[in-house]
Symmetry: C2
Subunit: 144 residues, 2 copies
DNA sequence: CCGTTATAGTTTCATCTGTAACCATTTGCA
DNA sequence: TGCAAATGGTTACAGATGAAACTATAACGG
């Protein structure tokens, strides 16, 4: 047997990050799905529209770090469900002009507090100092 | 306009974690894929076998936090590729007995240092104190 | 023993995701 | 102008993923 130096997966940072992120995202996603029939991607699109509307699909993609195909699909479901209104841009007929509908706002206002709550529960396990450091780490490793 | 209190997605922790994790994982996955035709899941299975072999498929699933379906699929590709040897357990013929093949060890020994390297590059952006705190945070939020 | 229940692993199906190709429209510039 | 290149967005295809059903074997309780 030669010296194979196997990797300790459970100490390997990319692995641990992936586990944590999946655990958290799936817990949240499951809830949105069950109560509002809303996928994670759909929710991200709605959250961005709530903040910056009106936006084009491309702008939604920029804000959400999703690619344009994913955005297009999420939007077609949201428009179908009557949660987003889509118009054509007056000067550039390629662009869409996207806004939350009234129903979209209702869903947003129901989901947003729950989202915050999930984050709060997560952070409640950490000390003040750990929270600050985590924010700093994320700024360094994944600047938005 | 009523008070809609939209969510700041780019400050929302689950979102940021997901971005970071996906960025890191995809960068690594792409490399393994190109050079060894190895998916992330396959690599995880190999890493665990390297450390604990022989294992049954269920044990691999426990160590990797993957579900048994994902493990089964990864294993069938690895066995097919001659990277893992699969036998039946003597006393319990439901179980498989899994080990890296010689070829599997060769791949492992080529990939493991690269994996460590990725981690090192990532950590190089952080201070000693941030690294320690991050480890502590992960222990709290995603105990393995 | 024998029938029920549990376990190991695979297969199936429906959904999701990423990449590339595609269509329509607009822009840039010869 | 008018034609090539760029842009916004959708569609098509291929591979990945998760839940549930299924097969085979083993364990358990009367």
């Amino acid at each position: 047997m030669t010296d194979h130096a196997p990797l300790k997966l459970e100490r390997f940072l990319p692995y641990r990050l992936s586990i944590l992120s999946n655990t958290v995202s799936q817990a949240i996603a499951r809830e949105y799905q069950q109560e509002f029939g809303l996928s994670m991607t759909e929710w991200r699109v709605m959250a961005v529209l709530a903040r910056f509307e009106p936006l084009s699909a491309r702008e939604v993609a920029e804000h959400t770090a999703m690619d344009k195909v994913a955005v297009s699909r999420a939007l077609s479901r949201l428009v179908e469900a009557g949660r987003v209104d889509r118009e054509r841009h007056g000067n550039d007929r390629r662009r869409s002009v996207l806004r939350l509908s009234e129903e979209g706002w209702r869903v947003h206002d129901a989901v947003a507090p729950r989202a915050r709550n999930h984050e709060r529960e997560m952070l409640a396990q950490l000390s003040r100092e750990e929270i600050d450091t985590l924010a700093r780490i994320l700024d360094k490793l994944a600047p938005v």
